[in-house]
């Protein structure tokens, strides 16, 4: 691997190629596609959180002038659909199909029961009102602990906990996980101090600004195109075609620009409906969710209850750690119970631990992935308990973590030994940071916490075309959410030895490039970047071949340096170097256009660790929390474009602080979401947060040509505990329930 000091392009901060279009309104998002004869689709949603559907009659809708199609569960193929969808919380395709359109039961308020397509949105609304649905309401179960009780109403009467031996009775627990090492009894017996607490995290939404939207245009043969907002158009093609019983080759998915996803756009909601409505009506159909629909019917993050017990010696050594975490899955199985179990103790070297986690059905929207799914909930609990340990033994919280930190060779709590990792480097960088050296402001508390995510590789494809003037076109299949086109261009420029402004990147549709998994799991810069790098190496090999042909040398007598073919050392040839432009300009004579390509299943994604700290102050009269300062430190392996790495760290911190301070789904007793809008569901705005300071640590991932580790997931993990620890220290009392909203804090303060 090349040393960082050698890089000419990587590590620079050019403006992203899509930036100007996005800030001027030229960029085309999911709802921006307009086609001739296009009509508008709308969804009828359940008014009940839990009910049997006794009958659905869409004839009234079809009788209205201007209505072209109306569909319900009866129109969809029955039976099980094999396969799973991407992203933690994705679940089975069979369940996704039932989430897209309810069949015999509605399982949450807002569950789709029918859909129509009409000439105008207003006619479509009138058509929804003309559909008759007869329900038999059932008792909903809305709380994860209640749902786990044996006498709780069953969300799914056919759900049996997946265990080696099938349980006698159905329950709301879909799955459970367990990790264990050492001897818990001996571990706790060796402790000088023990902390045992129960923590709660609310159900929260990713809060992406662009609602789900798509346009489908299907011809009389059932073939056509879908333009949509997605994190993974290849997986949307697979899911939509399977749900509808189509050949996936009959659907082309065009990924539009995406206004945020954070995991929430790895799952289909509208696309199968739009395709079916288009096929039935013979017209293109546009569907776009309102913000209210996004809250009620797309996938939020799991609410959780976590019980944690930690024992430590006075010198800071953790002797035993135990965690029990129940995650709400929503209406279908698929809460991130295993990633939560695997992440909770990952940053630490522990001899004795036990983790048990549960995937629990409740009558709420089916959860979806949200940055590092499962980790914020479980790690919030453990990182808060560690903070209390630090207070009990009067030890600096960073020192406590340094004392127990995992390092290269440590056997991770989830199994394997760590290759080189940057957790200790992050801790040291945080400890040395001027913000940490500064005194805690009067009346405030300082919170410290660690974050972690595994990161993944998965499948990516890329092609690199050399234009006839030597400029470079990168074609890839990863939707650009966080500036990845700029990163791809930088890696291509670095590898080829050309300037950044000579490279362009294009995100191609499902018929224009090879398969790519979702943009998610912090995999794009790592895996698609690896594909782009290999495709560029393919180009270089071709260029060396063309230069050898031009000079009458053997291919192994030619080298590539600074964007030029040159004779190798010791080769006696009186020739001028040939640049990419020289070779491309004469490509017709040496074999035709020059291109490279790569398709791979990237392995060796390096785990990413973070350490965050912040100073927060509570107004004890109103319960309002002010974030006075916040610092995020994270190992990026190698920051290809440091500004966009910092952007991920800052965005994740803002989302995590929102989760910690104010965001929560509030349901009525009968399961109706009462705050389905940004007025009542309070995400942080600029005036709520200070500048998030960042420090990038670079411990190279040896499995990537430039040392990249994914950076998108980890930043959301630590802020929950940072906020809780800071508030707890400022109030001198432990606050274990999120959000740290004024009502919750006043209740805690008054209770004291």
């Amino acid at each position: 691997m090349a040393e960082a000091v050698d890089y000419k392009q990587i590590g620079s901060r050019p403006v992203r190629p899509d930036g100007l279009d996005k800030v001027t309104g030229r960029a085309q998002f999911g709802a921006d596609t307009v086609l001739p004869n296009m009509i508008h689709g709308k969804v009828l949603r359940s008014p009940h959180a839990h009910a049997k559907i006794k009958s659905i009659d869409v004839s009234g809708a079809l009788a209205l002038p201007g209505v072209f199609a109306a569909i319900s569960g009866a129109d969809f193929p029955g039976g099980g659909i094999e396969g799973e969808v991407g992203g933690e919380g994705g679940g089975t395709l069979s369940d996704v199909a039932k989430n897209v359109m309810a069949r015999d039961k509605v399982l949450y308020h807002g569950h789709t029961v029918a859909a129509v397509a009409a000439a105008t949105p207003m006619i479509a609304e009138a058509a929804l009102a003309a559909i008759k649905v007869e329900y038999e309401p059932l008792s909903p179960v809305l709380d994860v602990l209640h749902a786990m009780e044996s006498d709780a109403p069953l969300v799914d009467e056919n759900n049996y906990t997946k265990l080696p031996e099938k349980p006698e009775n159905p329950s709301n627990v879909a799955n459970q996980g367990r990790l264990e090492r050492g001897n818990m009894e001996e571990g706790f017996a060796a402790a000088d101090v023990v902390v045992e607490r129960e923590f709660q995290c609310p159900m929260t939404h990713q809060g992406y600004i662009e609602p789900q939207a798509c346009v489908a245009s299907i011809d009389e043969n059932g073939r056509g195109t879908v333009w949509c907002s997605t994190q993974g158009h290849f997986e949307f093609r697979a899911a939509t075609s399977k749900i509808l019983g189509k050949d996936l080759a009959d659907l082309k998915i065009v990924p539009m620009e995406i206004g945020g996803g954070f995991g929430g756009k790895t799952v289909v909601y509208l696309e199968p409906l739009a395709v079916m409505l288009s096929e039935k009506s013979g017209r293109p159909v546009k569907m776009a969710m309102s913000r209210e629909e996004v809250f009620r019917a797309t996938g939020p993050a799991s609410a959780s209850v976590a019980r944690v017990k930690v024992g430590a010696k006075r010198d800071g050594t953790i002797t035993a750690a135990q965690a029990w975490v129940a995650y709400e899955a929503g209406a279908f199985a698929g809460a991130p119970y295993m990633p939560g179990a695997m992440a909770v103790f990952a940053p630490y070297e522990l001899e004795n631990f036990l983790v048990e986690t549960f995937d629990v059905l409740v009558n709420k929207p089916k959860v979806a992935a949200y940055r590092a799914p499962g980790a914020p909930q479980s790690m919030h609990a453990f990182e808060c308990a560690l903070d209390e340990i630090a207070q009990l033994i009067d030890m600096d919280p960073i020192d406590l973590r340094l004392h127990n930190a995992a390092d290269e060779g440590t056997q991770a709590s989830y199994g394997p030994k760590f290759p080189p990792i940057g957790f200790k480097a992050c801790l040291q960088a945080a400890k040395d940071h001027p913000n940490y050296q500064a005194p805690v402001p009067e009346g405030a508390g300082r919170g410290v916490a660690a974050g972690f995510w595994f990161n993944v590789g998965m499948q990516s494809s890329a092609e690199v075309h050399i234009n006839e003037n030597g400029t470079v076109m990168v074609i890839e299949g990863s939707p650009d959410i966080g500036g990845s086109r700029a990163s791809m261009c930088l890696m291509a420029a670095e590898t080829l030895g050309v300037e950044y402004d000579k490279v362009r990147a294009q995100v191609a549709d499902t018929e224009s490039t090879g398969f790519c998994n979702v943009t998610g799991g912090s995999r794009t810069t790592f895996a698609t970047g690896m594909a782009v790098t290999r495709a560029c190496e393919d180009v270089i090999a071709e260029c060396k071949k063309r230069a050898a042909m031009t000079w009458g040398l053997d291919e192994d007598q030619v080298e590539w340096e600074d964007g030029q073919a040159i004779p190798g050392p010791g080769v006696n040839a009186d020739v001028k170097p040939l640049s990419l432009a020289d070779l491309a300009g004469k490509a017709a004579k040496t074999g035709g256009p020059i291109q490279g390509r790569a398709s791979l299943n990237a392995q060796g994604a390096g785990a990413s660790f973070s350490v965050n700290f912040g100073d927060l102050r509570v107004d004890q009269e109103t319960g309002k929390v002010d974030v006075l300062s916040y610092t995020a430190v994270q190992d990026a392996g190698k920051a290809i474009h440091p500004s966009y790495v910092e952007g991920q760290m800052q965005g994740g911190a803002a989302q995590g602080l929102g989760w910690a301070l104010n965001e929560e789904y509030i349901f009525s007793a009968d399961g109706v979401l009462e705050n389905a809008g940004f007025l009542d569901y309070r995400i942080p705005v600029c005036s709520d947060l200070p500048m998030i300071d960042t420090a990038i640590v670079e411990v190279a991932n040896p499995s990537h040509p430039y040392g990249v580790r994914g950076v998108g997931e980890t930043p959301i993990v630590a802020p929950l505990a940072v906020a809780a620890n800071a508030v707890s220290r400022s109030l001198d009392m432990r606050i274990c329930k999120l959000p740290l909203s004024p009502p919750n804090l006043l209740e805690a303060i008054d209770g004291e």
Binding site: P164, M338, P339, Y414, G415, M458, S522
Partner: protein
């Protein structure tokens, strides 16, 4: 002999044995040996990622194993 660790949920199929040693040159051969011994693992193993000497593979196939390799089967991770 490579040291193999299977997830707890495999215990019902392996009669409680989740830690074992096997001699195989690569992952493909290791998987074949496991399935030969316990056919019920066939479908289950495809649901896991595998860590070989600390390196996590979502879809291992011909990855080589050393005589002292450590092999952990673990749930697949994706993310948001």
């Amino acid at each position: 002999m490579a040291q193999i660790t299977l997830p707890d949920e495999c215990a019902a199929i392996t009669g409680g044995q989740c830690s074992l040693t096997l001699n195989a040159e690569n992952y493909r051969d290791l998987r074949a040996l496991l399935v030969k011994q316990w056919p019920g693992l066939d479908a289950l193993l495809d649901r896991y990622a595998v860590a070989i000497d600390g390196q996590i593979y979502q879809d291992a196939f011909m990855e080589p194993l050393n005589a002292d390799s450590e092999v952990f089967f673990m749930p697949r991770i994706e993310g948001g």
